[in-house]
Amino acid sequence: MKRALLASSCVVLACASGPDVRKRADAVAADVRSARELKAETCAPRELATAEANLRFARLALDQGDARRANAHLSTAEPAAREAEAKSRDCGKTVVAAKAPDPVRAALTVSTTDSDGDGVPDVDDLCPDVPGSAERRGCPLLTDRDLDGVADDIDRCPDLPGPKENFGCPWPDRDGDRVADKDDRCPDEPGSVENHGCPRRTALIVVRRDRIELKQQIHFQPNRAVILSDSYDVLRQVAQAIKDVPGAIRIEGHTDNVGKRSENLKLSQSRAEAVREYLVREGVEARQLVAVGFGPKRPIASNSTKAGRTLNRRVEFRMEEKK
């Protein structure tokens, strides 16, 4: 019986405390509001935040039916709100004092703070955290040895002129072409400013409607299908041109008429294939290329002169006609 009475009285008390806690929460909310009006967000941010958060937690606990927990949160929120209010009031006073009509009094109020202790009050100190002379308005005397406009104390390269965007250091330039790597399209090859730091490359090929014309012939080791390195540049350009062309390309190998016809035929075929392999290595699709050796069958000059024979030993690139 006693137990039942005790339990019921507890329930009654708990129910009765709900509205009381809500009233208390409303009172704290009023304190928070007034603190906020006094600009507590600036003057006492932590206290205001603590008060607001705990007020919200208290209300949440009330919604969950936990008046005890709500009370505990309000016990944190209440003093925090009061402290926020008090601090903000003081904070407001300082502002008023600084704006007071009496200039001497205002100056005295403000001059009490001097964070860097350099004798220049913070209000007049352009560098309130760094000691400096009054002549320099509280800022230290800064040197700039490399005269790049970035003071030595923040210049990461105090002896080398450099832009302030790179902390006073010159922009890196790996190839030394006076075009900074950040603007250099070829940072490892020297080139002119006009060409964005890239070397000028002369065109070694001309792409025609039906063929790719070479301005420099492809050179091979004598009687072998090994391409000489001086032909790599032209072949690279050919590879690039083929990549830009949608259709198939026929690589034709030709020789002069010196030696056995069958051997020349075989050599021209091998050379055409060597070129094809090189182009595939350069990224051209293998199915786009056909290698054909014609031997001495299609001369373009007389084989009776040395100059003519030189012209006849050649590789040609022809666009395959679409069927």
Binding site: P45, A49, A53, C127
Partner: protein, 105 residues
């Protein structure tokens, strides 16, 4: 049919802890970022709110009140983000002000 419905209910209930945990993790990360940009100094109000809300969100999650936990964590995340951006803004404006002051004779 009944099995399907039961499964759906179970899945729906199971989403609570998952989403709450995910938002809490996001808020935690955002708060770490804010702290890294010195939010305690430059955006104390927002940083404190984010901190308290995050702690409360964890507490609510511990009591299996996932929707409350998620709501609090969402607010914590929002405040942490505001704190981070406010702090970085204030820091950069202060740095600019200082360098301008230094350049003046």
């Amino acid at each position: 049919m009944a099995r399907c419905a039961t499964l759906l209910v179970v899945l729906a209930l199971a989403c609570g802890p998952v989403t709450a945990t995910s938002v809490i993790d996001d808020a935690q990360r955002a708060l770490v970022r804010a702290r890294a940009s010195d939010a305690d100094r430059y955006a104390a109000y927002e940083a404190t709110l984010a901190d308290l809300y995050l702690a409360k969100a964890r507490e609510e999650q511990g009591h299996a009140r996932y929707s409350d936990a998620r709501a609090l964590a969402t607010d914590a995340l929002r405040y942490a983000q505001v704190a981070a951006s406010k702090a970085s803004e204030k820091r950069s404006s202060q740095a600019l002000g200082r360098s301008a002051a230094v350049q003046q004779p």
